[in-house]
């Protein structure tokens, strides 16, 4: 009974993971930066799908909304607006390769240490039981956010308000000679001041 349904998610997991790795390799090897960004979007979408397998639907939705919906679109705009010489950027690839290999090895060591600790029988942390909440974790998070952490949530809202006011205060300039729209003048304008009817003698071809 347990065996058959577990095969299907396993196939999905390995299939998506393979795609994810392929897309990630594509991000760093694509010649066109726009292709890189689009492949990165694909990475995020596949990661979201893998999270869905873990029944972390809130994380999956947040990842797509925040990263794909906002951050990646912004990045795409930046990449499209800048005239980047890709070949010039690639010049440093071999120079930085040792550093990249070092970072890669460190990451691999960290990942394998987790696997090794798990094998040695050390209980690191209880695996998240996503079925603990009957209503799904989006609702559970919402309940927590609007009861226990309501105060912190509201203060975070005030921090955002402060950020808006601060950013506008520091950037909005009222210079002289700026060509801004004067709505009141536009509304108050009278036809006489714009159109002048001139009486002329009709001219005829002789």
């Amino acid at each position: 009974m347990q065996q058959i349904p577990e095969i299907f998610p396993l196939i999905l997991f390995y299939g998506w993971s393979g795609l994810l790795i392929a897309a990630a390799v594509g991000v760093i090897t694509a010649r066109n930066p726009v292709h890189s960004v689009l492949l990165l979007v694909l990475c995020f979408v596949i990661s979201a799908a893998i999270w869905l397998l873990l029944r972390a639907e809130f994380l999956a939705v947040a990842l797509v909304l925040v990263y794909v919906g906002a951050v990646m679109v912004l990045l795409l705009f930046v990449v499209m607006m800048l005239d980047i010489n890709v070949e010039r950027m690639r010049e440093g690839l071999t120079r930085y390769a040792p550093l990249g290999v070092l970072v890669g090895l460190l990451l691999a060591a960290q990942l394998s240490s987790v696997w090794w600790l798990r094998r040695s029988g050390l209980e690191i942390a209880a695996p998240a039981d996503s079925l603990a909440f009957e209503e799904g974790n989006t609702q559970a998070l919402g309940t927590l956010l609007y009861t226990e952490h309501l105060y912190a949530f509201e203060i975070a809202g005030y921090i955002l308000l402060l950020a808006i006011i601060g950013a506008i205060t520091l950037t909005l300039r009222r210079r002289k000679g700026l060509r801004v729209q004067q709505v009141s003048e536009q509304v108050a304008v009278r036809p006489e001041s714009r159109v002048r009817l001139v009486k002329m003698k009709t001219e005829r071809d002789e």
């Binding site: 921090i159 402060l162 520091l170 300039r173």
Partner: protein, 472 residues
């Protein structure tokens, strides 16, 4: 579910202030550009109401203990409202000259005050950090408010970068505390076993963050620039209101939150206190700008109040609280006088002959300077006396002697100001009589009077400070 309004009683001050901010935003939008005085009046009137709610609010904890209203929080909130009122009365004159008088100044000041409120009432790591960030973000923006000034921009950049490093260190420590104890509540992180390496690292990082916020040596580099770079009207706010949040931070995070490792951080605190006292006092002697002198003096004063925390216990903390309250009063007054000089950047020389230009103001500055030195019967004397008494009681006699030595050394630069004001003639280009305006005059008078009254009749405030740390 029927909402019972009285169950929100501990939250009244925050609610009132959170309501005042959007109201003032609209007032500023409606009339701010034509009549900045209306915005100021609305802000002061609103603050009076907020101050009243501080008295009216009930004691109690809310939101699963993430919010705590107790005597300490109430005292700090009332002091915060008072200092904001004082700053908002002094500041406009200077800001108008600097071309930075906009409604946003009051708005950002109120945001900073809300940050002080949240920090003072924090019962969990999360609310504590959010309160501090609210305060810090408002202050970064205030320092950069005078946009066309390179000095203000430089100060804001330094303050922002160093403040962000401090916040980062503190946040790292907090995340370790949370990871080790499994709880955000300060009452539960306090029970963390002090022997583990993680707890040591967490305590060290948290202490680093606290020292950054306080401006204690060796994390003091931002102080002088942050005081001197922006207009003096911003500096007066910067020198007073955040100090209250810093004190709340010490009590909530160090004394309550990581009390288990007190022996370890007390040692670090002693080192920082002595370093702040010595470096602050010595460097202040070499300053020629009034704001920079006050900044270095502030570092020395931070050292003094840390000594109260080192002595520990209810007595030590109430002495440190009393010191903090008296200090912000003195700092506000000193900046008030410097603002009244109507100098964009006030070199100490512009205090020359102040007695001939305005005897009243010179007398108030005299009171403030004598109080800063610690001459009886002024408030500054009692504040120092309290800290020294507790130190000796707790067996830190050597520290008390060091503190007295640097207090005497520090008298040099305060006395120099007094000599400049009373015994020298005004500079040739500054002969005319000063007209500080009636609002600032009344406030300066009240400020000077408060130092005398607290000095002669300190018991109500002292009792209040003791009650904040007393049982029940």
């Amino acid at each position: 579910m029927v909402m019972d309004l009285t169950s929100w009683a501990p939250l009244y001050p925050e609610l009132a202030l959170a309501l005042l901010i959007p109201v003032l935003l609209l007032v500023d939008l409606a009339v701010g550009r034509k009549r900045p005085a209306v915005v100021q009046a609305a802000c002061l009137a609103g603050l009076v109401l907020v101050g009243w709610t501080c008295f009216a609010a009930a004691d109690g904890a809310m939101f699963y203990d993430a919010f705590v209203m107790d005597r300490l929080a109430r005292l700090l909130k009332i002091a915060g409202v008072l200092m904001s009122v004082v700053a908002f009365v002094y500041a406009p004159r200077d800001l108008r000259q600097a071309g930075a008088l906009r409604g946003e100044y009051y708005l950002l000041g109120l945001f900073a005050l809300l940050g002080v409120f949240v920090t003072a009432s924090a019962g969990s790591l999360l609310t504590l950090y959010l309160g501090l960030e609210l305060l810090a973000l408002a202050l970064y923006t205030l320092v950069a408010l005078q946009r066309d000034s390179a000095r203000a921009a430089e100060a804001a950049m330094k303050y922002f970068v160093l403040g962000a490093i401090g916040s980062g260190a503190m946040l790292y420590g907090m995340s370790l505390l949370y990871g080790l104890s499994g709880s955000l509540l300060l009452s539960e992180t306090a029970t963390l076993a002090p022997e583990s390496v993680g707890a040591y690292v967490a305590a060290a990082l948290v202490l680093t963050g606290v020292a950054f916020k306080l401006g204690a040596v060796p994390f003091h580099q931002w102080v002088a620039d942050a005081y001197d770079g922006p207009p003096l009207g911003v500096a007066v706010l910067l020198a007073t209101v955040p100090k209250l949040a810093s004190f709340a931070l010490i009590v909530r995070l160090l004394v309550d939150g990581i009390s288990a490792s007190q022996e370890q951080w007390n040692l670090l605190l002693i080192v920082m206190a002595v370093a702040s006292l010595s470096l602050g006092t010595i460097v202040a002697m070499a300053q020629t700008q009034a704001a920079r002198l006050l900044a270095w003096a502030a570092i020395a004063h931070v050292g003094f109040l840390l000594l109260g925390v080192v002595a520990g216990g209810g007595e030590g903390l109430s002495a440190a609280l009393f010191y903090t309250l008296v200090y912000v009063l003195m700092a506000a007054g000193a900046f008030g006088v410097v603002i009244a000089l109507e100098k964009q950047t006030a070199p100490l020389d512009s205090l020359r002959g102040l007695y001939r230009r305005h005897p009243g103001m010179a007398s108030i500055m005299l009171l403030i300077m004598l109080s800063m030195i610690g001459i009886p019967p002024l408030a500054g004397f009692l504040a120092k006396w309290q800290v020294l008494m507790v130190l000796v009681d707790q067996g830190f006699t050597a520290l008390a002697i060091v503190a007295v030595v640097f207090a005497v050394v520090g008298a040099y630069y305060y006395l120099r100001i007094i000599r400049l004001m009373f015994m020298e003639a005004p500079r040739e280009q500054e002969q005319e009589r000063l007209k500080p305006g009636w609002g600032a005059s009344v406030m300066l008078g009240a400020n000077g009077l408060a130092l005398v009254v607290i000095g002669v009749w300190p018991n109500p405030l002292l009792e209040w400070c003791r009650a904040a740390f007393g049982p029940g």
